[in-house]
């Protein structure tokens, strides 16, 4: 049930081995989902792989596979330690499997740390670049701070309940418990870059090598959300009336800051960093609602958001100029790439017929199902309109602005992977049941 045994072998990494390893992990995960179990380890109920976490793992592994297929070659350009980068990414994946299936606060802490530490290294992997170093240090300091908060929160919760298990009966009205919960909430909000704990995000995403930004902004971020929803669904589910308003406020602030700031960005990479904050705001709606729709929706959202963002980053990595002007005339030079990028952007903006629309749809549905805080839903959709502004700026630059267009070299398989990815996004946009179905059967 633990995949670490696979992961350690990848130290000798070459690209194909990494991809092969990932395929094996993915396959075993899918098999497990359909009932074939290879080996059982008694985890004393600290970890349990239920449908939800397995399905989420599948989404994460598939996204990583797509990420490897598209960007593995670009990892090469970052630095000399090619093999290590893959190993670190596999470590992160290991941490993600822990965070998606924890039943104990200790495992949650372990998972989060296994995710974070490799990321600090990956962020600073471009050693000669000052910005990359700065980003890494910033990320490390703030990350360590939030880890401290988390530990303190766990300690307080342990003090009030006497157990690390998240499914045990709790006493929601004790002050100790509530303050522990708040500390955990803040540290989780930090990990998913929800406002007002988002300040590290733009700098870190901008400073890190673009290939790793792509990984961090997508797979790692949704993993944070899965941990968040599990934690608040299991451990603090009974205390929902206490935290719901606070989460609603965090959601609103995140949406506002992410979207409004993204509008003023001049670099597409930075815009995507802020857009990832605003998308996080939408995913926060799931935490706020915390019902069946929210869980289904979060899975769909993870898939839609990861696939589209990885696609955009894969194209962005190939470019030299990350500014909006850099995209001018792109459609003339690379009609196919421009088309798929458009589909990815439309999906992020939440236009129907793409997976992104249904993801947003589920979030709104979940939030409306709670029957409270209608203003939050209206606010969220208005912010979605703002997001259309900056996503469409890229489309405008690609199609309607005159420009030389950058010369980029892309291989045929790269193109076809992107086309396939776009097709999947549209397919999910028409038949979301493809994912939701797995949750129940």
């Amino acid at each position: 049930m633990m995949f670490s045994s696979f992961l350690l072998t990848n130290k000798s990494a070459i690209r194909n081995l990494a991809i092969l390893g990932l395929v094996i992990v993915l396959a075993s995960n899918v098999l497990e989902m359909s009932g074939v179990v290879f080996f059982r380890i008694d985890t004393k109920d600290m970890i349990r792989f239920d449908r939800f976490s397995l399905l989420f793992n599948t989404i994460v592994f598939t996204s990583t596979l797509v990420y490897f297929l598209l960007s593995a070659r670009d990892i090469e350009k970052v630095g000399i330690n090619y093999g290590e980068y893959f190993a670190l990414i596999f470590f992160v994946l290991c941490g993600i499997t822990l965070t998606s299936s924890f039943r104990s606060l200790l495992v949650l802490f372990l998972g989060i740390e296994i995710i974070s530490i490799p990321l600090y290294i990956l962020t600073g992997s471009d050693k000669r670049n000052l910005k990359s170093n700065e980003a890494s240090l910033k990320y490390f300091l703030l990350g360590a701070f939030s880890t401290g908060l988390m530990l303190m929160g766990i300690a307080l919760v342990y003090g009030s309940t006497g157990t690390f298990s998240t499914t045990a009966v709790t006493q929601p009205d004790s002050a100790l418990f509530i303050s522990g919960m708040l500390l955990l909430m803040f540290s989780m909000a930090f990990k998913v870059s929800a406002a007002p704990f988002h300040f590290w995000t733009p700098d870190v995403y901008d400073g890190a090598p673009t290939v790793f930004t792509s990984f961090m902004a997508t797979i790692v971020k949704v993993a944070g959300f899965i941990a968040f929803i599990r934690l608040f669904g299991d451990e603090f589910g009974t205390a929902q009336p206490v935290w719901q308003l606070l989460i609603a406020l965090i959601t609103a602030i995140t949406l506002f800051i992410g979207n409004i700031t993204a509008v003023f960005q001049q670099s597409v990479k930075r815009m995507l960093a802020y857009s990832s904050i605003s998308q996080a705001g939408f995913m926060m709606l799931a935490i706020y609602a915390m019902n069946t729709e929210a869980k289904e929706g979060l899975l769909l959202y993870s898939a839609a958001y990861c696939l589209a963002t990885i696609g955009i980053f894969a194209v962005l990595i190939k470019l030299k100029d990350y500014s909006f002007e850099g995209f001018n005339g792109f459609a003339k030079k690379q009609p196919l790439l421009a088309l798929v990028t458009t589909i990815f952007l439309l999906s992020l903006a939440g236009i129907p017929l793409t997976a992104g629309f249904l993801a947003k749809f589920y979030m709104l549905k979940a939030a409306l199902a709670t029957g409270k805080y209608l203003w939050l839903v209206i606010f969220a959709v208005l912010m979605a309109v703002v997001s259309v502004y900056y996503y469409f700026r890229v489309i405008q630059a690609m199609y309607f602005k005159e420009g030389a267009g950058q010369n980029i070299e892309v291989s045929q398989p790269f193109k076809w992977t992107l086309v396939l990815l776009a097709a999947v996004i549209i397919l999910l946009g028409i038949f979301p049941d493809l994912i939701i179905y797995w949750l129940y059967f």
């Binding site: 129907p352 409306l368 209206i378 405008q396």
Partner: protein
């Protein structure tokens, strides 16, 4: 079967269009496709009127109970006919216009037709929303790629405006969907769901804003004149002729019967907005020098009248709106055709720079005058029928106390319409020809044909409107029955 064909034919042929290299072949192909769609639409009106042909239902997204459900009711018949008539007309009349990358242009046009047809046909709220957005995306690309100088900014404004409206509508749709007993998006479920009085009010505004932006109703109209001016004329024809009807249809099918209490409650407010907008737009139209903007503002006035009529909730008014939707579409396309050929020939749309065209090109002048008179609503033209029924409806309204005020104020705009339309005709077609207009213009065969068809429609409907009124009779009665609030008065 008919509704599926109406969507599939433009969809498949539109996607194929992107791969045709030869320009002549592209034009021939899209014309062929649109004529086939027209034939199917006429078949649905005449031969295959049985319900089994006009309905289609398939499961789709079963986890949330949405279905791919299409049906041609009376209103759908009229609007689908309008759509399928407009596209061949547009293709014929712009046969000579040059486009960069014609394959992409015409492919997107057909995809826009898919979206429009879908909106008019869908009987499932989620599907309706899908098509609603789907019609917008091709329009965005068409206007931004092939429009005038300021196209990018203007189209963006248009897009943001309509997107805001539609996403607000989405919130309302989801909310009502949660309230339905079976959690279904189906239109009958929507019709039969009682809603709490308090939530109805804001639901009404969420939905109405979406439709009001599309129509457009003052004060949400500011995107419209700019977009009509900057868009390529072929697209403007579709936007103004067909796409604005999405808003009217939305009100009739998705707002009036679903939220009938607040529909009545806010009726006076909305009518006031609509009539203010009519007067405002007419006054601005009088001062316009640009032909395209003039027609754009006159369109705001016409849509305002339709909106005010809907909120009077009378059978006569409803029938008037139904027929006027078709008339307005046909007439405004006729006006755009004339403007397009004036602009192509003389290189300007400024009324002040034109004059004396009638002497040199009498055929064009005659056709335009007929279309313009229909636009004002002179007897024996189609416009008269629609406007008469609508005024009759407002005046006979039982749901508002201010029916006399509304009728009189709306009546004034008819006079204003006569002022700006006749003034335009006088300045452009009569008077002295100047150096610019001296060469004159002999109208081409394709333009003559398109205008001829339009004039034929104008006269036929003007003289014998019953062929159209009979189609929509049942739908109008049904909607009004659903929206009936008079039972509340007796309590």
């Amino acid at each position: 079967m008919i509704p599926v064909l109406l969507i599939l034919i433009p969809l498949i042929s539109g996607l194929l269009t992107f791969f045709i290299k030869n320009e002549k072949a592209v034009r021939g192909w899209v014309l062929f496709s649109s004529v086939i769609t027209l034939c199917v639409s006429i078949l649905g009106l005449t031969v295959l009127k049985n319900d089994s042909y006009l309905q289609f239902r398939m499961n789709w997204m079963s986890t949330m109970n949405a279905s791919f459900s299409l049906r041609l009711d009376g209103m759908g018949q009229i609007l689908c006919l309008l759509t399928s008539v407009s596209f061949p007309l547009v293709f014929i009349s712009t046969w000579e216009s040059e486009y960069k990358k014609p394959a992409n242009f015409f492919g997107l046009m057909l995809l826009m037709q898919v979206g429009l047809m879908g909106v008019f046909l869908s009987m499932d709220a989620l599907l309706f929303y899908f098509f609603w957005e789907l019609a917008l995306i091709p329009a965005y690309f068409l206007c931004s790629q092939w429009g005038g100088e300021k196209r990018i900014a203007v189209t963006f404004k248009f897009f943001i405006y309509t997107f805001t409206g539609s996403i607000l509508m989405l919130v309302a749709i989801i909310y009502i969907y949660m309230q339905t007993p079976t959690h279904s998006f189906d239109i009958t479920a929507f019709y039969n769901t009682p809603l709490a009085n308090r939530s109805e009010s804001w639901l009404f505004w969420l939905m109405f804003i979406a439709f009001a932006i599309k129509m457009p109703i003052w004060p949400l109209h500011t995107w419209q004149p700019d977009t009509y001016e900057q868009a390529p004329t072929a697209v403007t024809m579709i936007l103004s002729g067909v796409m604005v009807k999405m808003g009217v249809l939305g009100i009739i099918r998705w707002l009036m019967p679903v939220l009938h209490l607040s529909f009545y409650q806010w009726g006076d407010t909305v009518s006031t907005l609509a009539i203010t907008g009519m007067i405002y737009a007419s006054l601005i139209a009088i001062r316009q020098d640009d032909l395209k903007r003039l027609v754009a503002y006159s369109s705001i006035a016409h849509m305002g009248l339709m909106c005010a009529t809907l909120f009077s909730e009378t059978q006569s008014g409803m029938q008037g709106v139904m027929i006027q939707m078709f008339n307005h579409g046909i007439n405004i396309i006729g006006l755009w055709i004339v403007i397009e050929l004036i602009e192509r020939q003389f290189g300007t749309r400024k009324i002040s720079e034109l004059g004396g065209l009638a002497q040199r090109s009498p055929a064009m002048a005659i056709l335009l005058v007929i279309v313009a008179l229909a636009n004002i609503g002179l007897p024996l033209t189609n416009g008269f029928i629609g406007e008469f029924l609508m005024f009759n409806g407002i005046f006979a309204s039982a749901v508002t106390k201010y029916y006399i005020v509304f009728t009189v104020l709306a009546g004034i705009t008819i006079i204003l319409a006569a002022v700006y339309t006749l003034n335009m005709i006088r300045k452009v077609f009569y008077g002295e020809a100047n150096t610019l207009t001296a060469p004159g213009y002999s109208i081409r065969f394709n333009e003559k044909m398109a205008l001829g068809i339009i004039v034929a429609f104008i006269l036929v409907i003007g003289i014998y409107p019953n062929i159209f009124l009979n189609i929509t009779q049942e739908t109008s009665e049904f909607i009004l029955k659903k929206a009936d609030v008079t039972s509340l008065f007796s309590k």
